[in-house]
């Protein structure tokens, strides 16, 4: 009887026909995943446009294009849009699409909440971006919104409400992911048989639940300081501007890992597929992610080495930060070991993953250097830091998302993308991104502070090189857009169910494109189909 009911159910529930019904009222994890990914791509281009303004103004010394205040709006909005609009939603989109497919669940555990958590986002960003068109201008105090400076802006209330909305969305998304992973796995999908991507998201979701309320608290205090005469951060009223920084970075550092742990998960899926060899040290990989997540809570003040912390605090946060190098190193060594002895091919997802391992590690190296507090007294707030976090966020997080898009596009769309154009996109991106960010290390070491609209002529050459790399990298992403549109709408090459020869895991057992509803009946799990079916290793 159960079987009959399910069968019936299946027949009558294809995708709804109307546009509004299908996309706005959706409770389907695949459609909501698509919405998240499309939204993130849109934000990626908006945030990218802001970056183009920044790089254009910094093309040569002197002010040519924009006023300094507008420049500050651009740096602030670029960060907010890229972090909260592009990177985070794209990871949530990937989670929505892939987690139910990977654990053998019919949908997310809380489908209506899923709809709500997506549809909050466009409103949050409309609120945030609308400030650019207001008389007082947008936020210009940096994405970290340090008071007292951020309180001088007239748009703080809009930013705070936008952040609240993003926070609510993230928390609901995280609850949904945890509920799905813990409750909806198909029988036989033990926790230690889950794909690393699922593990990485399970841990990330806990980080989100732990820290988004902290951010909400911090910005609410900004709001009351601005409009309700409280003095949390006002020294003249007995408050402390540094308190804000502690609270913000208690959110901010785990946030950094929220943007990289799912990337670790993605890379841990892709490298074994194209090396045709199971991941090296599965349990060590999971444990490393958990350790990094734990450590992320006790390192926040390394963002504050120059605020004049007591020496004991500097030493503690320095040691704790350095410790992160150990589990991160384990991950990198394990990826290399996964490749060693494999049978590798280099399709676009693999190329992006290999670039990720190398370039993210370079970002990790500069991170280790930044962890050394005395050296950080020089590096802090310079372009060295800008180079560091763009290596981990662009060639780290963003590259992993591109790798994931190429990897799973055949499953999503049912078509193969153009491998030639994928590779053109890859090589164009990987070269330009280094032209863009590598010289910024030199600029920072030579003495160029970050967040300045103009600079001494000594910094001219590397800024020009960096800007050229920036325009080139920005233009390269139009190729990405083209490849996606071609793949979804025009590609004639149909994807096989198991789109990649070496791919393992439940998502490859369903048809391509994945039907609107999958796993109405829990799949029978054969350990051989899973990437980590045998837990003895």
């Amino acid at each position: 009887m159960a079987h009959d009911a399910t069968h019936d159910h299946h027949d009558h529930h294809g995708a709804p026909q109307g546009f509004f019904q299908r996309w706005v009222m959706s409770t389907n994890h695949k459609d909501i995943g698509t919405l998240y990914l499309v939204f993130a791509l849109l934000m990626f281009f908006i945030g990218g446009a802001f970056a183009m303004v920044i790089r254009a103004e910094l093309f040569k010394p002197g002010m040519q294009l924009v006023q300094p205040y507008f420049f500050n709006e651009m740096t602030t909005m670029h960060a907010l849009v890229m972090i909260f609009g592009a990177i985070m939603p794209s990871f949530v989109g990937l989670a929505n699409w892939m987690i139910p497919l990977m654990v053998g669940a019919p949908d997310m555990a809380l489908p209506r909440m899923n709809n709500l958590s997506f549809w909050i986002m466009p409103f949050a960003f409309t609120l945030l971006l609308s400030t650019l068109f207001m008389p007082g201008g947008g936020p210009a105090g940096g994405w970290t919104m340090y008071p007292p400076l951020s309180l001088q802006g007239e748009s703080i209330a809009y930013v705070v409400f936008a952040v609240h909305l993003m926070g609510i969305s993230s928390i609901m998304g995280a609850i949904n992911i945890i509920a799905t992973i813990l409750n909806m796995r198909a029988p036989g999908m033990d926790l230690l048989k889950m794909p690393v991507f699922v593990w990485s998201w399970l841990i990330t979701a806990f980080l989100l639940i732990a820290v988004m309320p902290v951010l909400a608290g911090a910005v609410t205090m900004l709001l009351t300081d601005k409009y309700f005469h409280t003095n949390f951060f006002n020294a003249a009223g007995g408050g402390d501007p540094v308190l804000y920084q502690h609270i913000f970075w208690f959110f901010g550092h785990p946030e950094v890992y929220i943007m990289i742990l799912p990337a670790f998960g993605i890379i841990s899926e892709i490298i074994p597929t194209f090396a045709r060899k199971p991941i090296f040290g599965y349990k060590a990989m999971v444990f490393a992610i958990a350790s990094i997540a734990f450590l992320s809570f006790i390192v926040w003040a390394h963002h504050m080495f120059a605020v004049g912390l007591p020496m004991g605090a500097e030493i503690f946060f320095m040691y704790a930060t350095m410790l992160i190098a150990v589990p991160t190193g384990v991950k990198v060594f394990n990826w290399v070991s996964t490749m060693w002895g494999g049978s590798m091919t280099f399709e676009t997802p693999m190329l992006f993953s290999i670039a990720f391992v190398i370039l993210f590690t370079i970002g990790g190296f500069s991170g280790l250097m930044l962890a050394l507090a005395p050296a950080d007294f020089q590096y802090h707030d310079t372009y060295f830091v800008v180079a560091h976090f763009h290596y981990v966020l662009v060639t780290g997080a963003a590259f992993s998302i591109m790798a994931a898009a190429y990897y799973w596009l055949p499953k999503w769309s049912g078509n193969m993308y153009s491998e030639t154009w994928g590779k053109i996109h890859f090589w164009s991106s990987v070269i330009s991104v280094n032209v863009l960010f590598f010289p910024q290390h030199f600029l920072g070491l030579a003495g160029m502070p970050r967040r300045i609209p103009d600079y001494n002529v000594a910094f001219a050459n590397f800024n020009m090189i960096s800007s050229i790399g920036g325009f080139w990298f920005g233009a390269s992403q139009l190729i990405f857009l083209g490849v996606i549109v071609h793949c979804v709408y025009f590609s004639k090459k149909k994807a096989a169910d198991r789109s990649w020869e070496g791919a393992k895991g439940l998502e490859w057992t369903v048809p391509s494109p994945a039907p609107h509803h999958t796993f109405d009946v829990p799949p029978v799990i054969h350990d051989d189909e899973l990437a980590h079916g045998h837990t003895d290793h």
Binding site: Q64, Q67, F280, Y282, M344, L368, F377
Partner: protein, 300 residues
């Protein structure tokens, strides 16, 4: 300029690496195409630690990326490689957990030493209070050789030529702004902070409105200037010279336009300068009192 620039880069890189290895001359102020951190001009400098950390990273990078490239070459399907089955090696995993820990302990020891000496402001012979304002600095000389300094303090802000040049679409050439052959666009002020060489100077750093950060690379550190908090740091400059820096914490629209210039002079010259400043302050005060007297006298 790109291809030429990139070619120049590599030659400059090589030169920089050779310089770093041979311990070549330090550049105190930003130079065109500068690749590395300045050694600075002060007793305390994180340069050595920076170089150690950099080389540690370079060596680890060569090993890890080298292994990756060997793997990518040897284990290609197109070369007929057949995937092996192993997924685990406890021995290897212990090795690459323990070795990084040892390296980190070594780095931590080095950095702790650097922090300890940086935090020690005792034995200073001079105190200067630095206040950050939107968008200028104020310097107040508090005490020199145990004696309070009488009312010597002044504002220091971006000098006028740079200020005119940096206006939007001014069409003025930043390259033209030079002092003694050094191009000082945005790195020069109307009135520099004058300090003696060979004296341990303690800085008290505060913020007047929002948070700023006082940074002169040649001194080896930056310190935030925060409203309501008095931070301290110290320096002991070894050689006379003009050391340039700027605000390093976003502080509003003109954050990029509040440079710092520290002019280090021999002790005798400094003492003379300080005496002149004190005299000027006295004269000024006398003038103020004189101005004030006619008003108050009739009442008195």
């Amino acid at each position: 300029m790109t291809s030429g620039g990139i070619g120049r880069w590599f030659s400059a890189w090589t030169a920089g690496v050779v310089l770093a290895l041979s311990g070549g001359a330090a550049m105190a102020n930003p130079e065109p195409d500068q690749l590395n951190m300045t050694k600075g001009a002060a007793e305390w400098s994180p340069y050595g630690m920076h170089m150690v950390a950099l080389w540690v990273c370079v060596v680890i990078g060569i090993v890890v990326f080298g292994a990756m490239f060997v793997a990518m070459f040897r284990f290609r399907k197109s070369r007929g490689a057949v995937a092996e089955k192993w997924t685990h090696s406890t021995k290897l995993e212990i090795v690459w957990t323990v070795i990084p820990v040892i390296i980190l302990i070594f780095l931590a020891k080095l950095a702790t030493g650097g922090l300890t000496s940086f935090a020690d402001t005792t034995g200073s012979e001079m105190t200067i209070k630095v206040t950050g304002y939107q968008w200028k600095w104020r310097y107040d000389y508090v005490e020199y050789k145990g004696k309070p300094v009488d009312r010597v303090g002044f504002m220091s802000k971006l000098e006028e030529t740079s200020d005119r040049t940096r206006q939007l679409k001014s069409n003025l050439d930043p390259d033209k702004i030079q002092v003694d052959g050094y191009k000082t666009y945005l790195l020069d002020v109307d009135k520099p902070l004058v300090v003696p060489v060979g004296v341990k100077i303690r800085f008290i750093i505060v913020g007047g409105d929002v948070i700023h950060s006082w940074w002169v690379p040649a001194l080896g550190w930056k310190m935030d200037a925060i409203p309501g908090i008095a931070n301290s740091a110290w320096t002991n400059l070894k050689e006379p010279g003009v050391y340039r820096g700027q605000c390093a914490e976003l502080c509003g629209q003109d954050h990029g336009f509040m440079p710092i210039v520290v002019k280090a002079v021999p002790k005798a010259e400094f003492e003379q300068w300080l005496a002149t400043q004190e005299d000027e302050a006295k004269v000024q005060k006398a003038a103020q009192t004189a101005q004030a007297t006619p008003v108050t006298a009739p009442q008195g």
